[in-house]
């Protein structure tokens, strides 16, 4: 089609004068547009460099190797470490909150979303109350509420509350039991990955047998057995690679355990609650979007309600929900930057601390923007991969 047009147009007889030739006009229009854009960008760049030179601000990235001059909460970063490392710590913190937040928000969102469709009146109403309450409040209000009102209302560290001496609650944070890595932990991690890979292979093998012969596959059972047996073997062979670490309340300190400091906890809680209310709506909408005929067909085939959900409704709902959920993951990741309001050391906070110490803002903010854009791109990539795998293969 396109070839025909080009051929017809390129024959000399059919060619209109240049000022009426659409192809030439298009080139001219785009050229003019490009020149305009380049001029604009150049003008901005010129202003930027002139202003920076005028104010005596360095225009290179050498400052990254200077000592940061501030500490970072919740890490062993010290003031004499370099800005480069500070930004890395900030990025790690951002990624950590984003990843943990996504997992928790997804779980909570699915639970609430399914609860909104429950036949139980109390459950259904509570779930819609949850969604309506949380998604209409600015997330920053939640962050500040948890930081200044909820967590600050916990007892002081001197008279911290404990739950069975296992969990410690105080206004300096919450301590949970956690694991300490023993010498063999790294090897055990590798063994764990190997055992999971093996278990997946076994599950695939069972599926192939099922496809070929129709005999019951029991692939979940096989998967769990393989994984737990090999992982258990690794655990005992390497001696326990991790030890349980219980938080212990000292005079005014807490030893061991996992410290959820208020800045981190208030940010994580708010982001999870906020995002889960949106994910719940997506889940509800997707389940409702599965055509009624599908459920009716499942009933007609004699599937039990749980089988109907497992094999008919959920797989189709998942396909509908995936793109929107991916979008919420992106929003959650960007919202990690709210941590700056309470002093959580995500990458923006770390960078603005450096600008406060007189380091050049243009470079630092550029790096923060690139960091967040990079994260967005990575998440979009995974979401797109998931979408493509979930899409119906049209025949």
């Amino acid at each position: 089609m396109a070839d025909d047009v080009t051929e017809a147009a390129s024959s000399p007889a059919a060619r209109p004068p240049w000022q009426r030739d659409v192809r030439i006009l298009r080139v001219i229009a785009q050229g003019a547009f490009l020149v305009l854009v380049i001029l604009l960008v150049q003008w901005f760049a010129y202003n930027l460099t002139t202003n920076m030179r005028r104010l005596g601000i360095r225009r290179d990235f050498a400052f990254l190797d200077q000592p940061a001059g501030y500490q970072i909460l919740g890490s062993n970063f010290v003031a004499s470490d370099r800005i480069r490392q500070a930004l890395l710590v900030g990025l790690t913190n951002t990624v950590r909150v984003a990843l943990i937040g996504m997992v928790l928000a997804l779980i909570l969102g699915i639970v609430v979303g399914v609860a909104r469709l429950s036949t139980n009146w109390v459950v259904r109403r509570s779930a819609s109350l949850y969604v309506e309450l949380l998604r209409n409040v600015p997330p920053l209000v939640l962050v500040i509420y948890f930081y200044l009102a909820a967590l600050a209302a916990l007892p002081r560290i001197e008279d911290a509350a404990t739950i069975n001496d296992v969990i410690i609650l105080s206004n300096r944070g919450i301590w949970l039991p956690w694991f300490d890595a023993a010498p063999g932990a790294g090897t055990f991690g590798i063994a764990l990955i190997a055992s999971l890979t093996l278990a997946i292979l076994v599950a695939r093998w069972r599926t192939r047998i099922f496809d070929a012969t129709g005999r019951p596959h029991h692939r979940v059972l096989f998967f769990l057995l393989t994984a737990s047996l090999t992982a258990g073997a690794g655990w005992f062979l390497l001696r326990p690679p991790v030890t349980l670490s219980l938080p212990e309340l000292g005079e005014r300190t807490v030893q061991g355990g996992l410290w959820l400091y208020p800045e981190y906890l208030s940010l994580l809680l708010s982001l999870v609650l906020y995002a889960s209310s949106f994910i719940a709506e997506i889940v509800r909408g997707s389940i409702q979007a599965v055509h009624r005929g599908q459920s009716e067909a499942a009933d007609a085939l004699g599937l039990t309600p749980s089988m109907r959900l497992r094999y008919v409704v959920l797989p189709q709902a998942l396909r509908i929900a995936a793109p929107a959920t991916g979008n919420e993951f992106l929003n959650l990741t960007k919202n990690v930057s709210l941590g700056i309001a309470v002093g959580f050391a995500e990458i923006l906070r770390v960078a603005t601390q450096a600008t406060g110490n007189g380091q050049p803002a243009p470079q630092l903010l550029l790096m923060v923007l690139l960091g967040y854009l990079g994260l967005s791109l990575i998440i979009s990539f995974f979401v797109n991969v998931a979408n493509r795998r979930l899409q119906l293969v049209e025949r």
């Binding site: 202003n47 036949t119 459950v123 109350l129 209409n136 500040i144 803002a361 854009l373």
Partner: protein, 418 residues
């Protein structure tokens, strides 16, 4: 799409209406139909009841609301000079008249369309109450803390002039009614001028809910045409234009707003020519809000453009319209109608996002909530719970109201059903 519409149409009368259930049947069906349901009822029920009880006790009994009573003006307008408050009442009256006229004209048009289509025109009383509920609740939750006659008189005036404008709107000549879009825009601009021009108050002295509303309205109004331009650019057949617009949109959609606000605060002045007067903090934040919002508006409008059927463009071509004429007269009017709910959604998220200006040191509503707890009388006594609750209710009711209206519009415009 058309087939599914027909199925629902024919299915609707067949489907049984809501049956009246006896109390026992209702309880059994909704709460105790199975062991699992009983267990859920008995665990979730008391939990929710306890939370509701704690909330009510806080609001009605234990809450120390004098912090709101004493600072209500601060919450509403920040450090706006108190002898200039009449400007705000005047601006609010202008906005009420504008909103009343717009609502009246749209209402009349809808009624006319309903009569032409033979649908019932009278709304149910229940629906009216449901629509009026949120704004009334919003006004009441603020007025309940007011201790001056001015607050009540002012609110009454604003409501009355708005209602009169709404009643009068259908009687306006046709010529005027067709220009309702420009009139509404003019009203918003006039209200802003009343506040800030003619010896008025510079924006640096604005605060509280005023600043929150200002950023939301100003950014949305200015970002709207820019967003349309980028949406059209992203759908251009010229690859270079398309790429540049896509980069712009994706850059602003991929960056967190706070980071952009910081960039606007710290770096934006660097991009202006040396010697150029540096724009104030408010302007810098507004520029960022506009750039950010226009990228989102562009994506919403692009969705609307895609919903316009190919046949429409072909018909416009067959009529001999120029490409620009096709866009302006055929595509855009249909696309922009379909994107109204999306724009309302964007308005909601912008309204919530304005809280971020507190991080760059401006006194918006949320910032005031923190500042008042540092006053001598309230310092260090945990008043933050009361003051955060107050602003959270304002944010909540306003967002909830807008989202309900957007859902209503979505149903009425039949988005996604054509």
């Amino acid at each position: 799409m058309a087939t599914s519409e027909h199925t629902t149409d024919t299915a609707a009368p067949v489907a049984p209406g809501p049956r009246r259930l006896g109390a026992r049947t209702w309880l059994h069906q909704n709460l105790f139909s199975s062991p699992l349901n009983t267990l859920l009822t008995l665990t979730v029920g008391p939990l929710v009841a306890y939370i509701a009880f704690a909330f009510l006790r806080f609001v009605l009994v234990t809450g120390r609301w004098e912090i709101i009573e004493r600072n209500l003006t601060l919450f509403m307008v920040g450090t706006f000079p108190r002898d200039q408050l009449w400007r705000l009442w005047l601006a609010m009256s202008i906005l009420a008249i504008t909103a009343g006229l717009t609502a009246g004209v749209i209402g009349a048009a809808t009624r006319a369309a309903a009569i032409a289509a033979g649908r019932p025109t009278q709304a149910h009383t229940g629906e009216r109450i449901r629509r009026l509920g949120p704004p009334v609740a919003l006004a009441l939750s603020i007025l309940v803390f007011a201790r001056t006659a001015t607050a009540f008189l002012g609110t009454a005036t604003v409501v009355i002039v708005g209602a009169i404008a709404m009643r009068a709107a259908p009687r306006l000549p046709d010529r005027v009614r067709r220009q309702i879009g420009p009139i509404a825009l003019g009203g918003v601009v006039l209200a802003l001028l009343v506040i800030s021009l003619f010896g008025g108050v510079p924006r640096t002295q604005w605060g509280g809910l005023l600043v929150t509303t200002y950023y939301t309205v100003a950014a949305l109004v200015i970002a709207y045409p820019i967003g349309i331009a980028f949406a059209l650019g992203r759908r251009s057949t010229l690859p270079l234009v398309r790429w540049v617009c896509t980069i712009y949109i994706e850059f602003f959609r991929g960056s967190p707003l706070i980071t952009l606000l910081f960039t606007g605060w710290l770096v934006l002045p660097f991009f202006l020519p040396p010697g150029f007067r540096t724009p104030g903090l408010v302007t810098r934040a507004l520029i960022i809000f506009i750039l950010f919002t226009s990228a989102y508006v562009a994506e919403i409008v692009r969705g609307g453009l895609q919903s316009v059927g190919r046949g429409q463009i072909e018909a416009a071509q067959a009529l001999g319209l120029s490409p620009w004429g096709q866009t302006r007269l055929v595509v855009l009017p249909q696309a922009l109608r379909a994107v109204i709910p999306g724009l309302v959604g964007q308005a909601i998220s912008l309204f919530k996002d304005t809280t971020l200006v507190l991080i760059i040191g401006q006194t918006d509503l949320l910032a005031v909530a923190q500042i008042v707890t540092k006053q001598g009388d309230f310092l260090g006594q945990g008043y933050i719970a009361e003051s955060l609750m107050f602003v959270a209710v304002i944010y909540w009711v306003a967002s909830y109201w807008l989202s309900r209206e957007s859902q209503r519009l979505e149903v009425r415009l039949g988005v996604g059903e054509r």
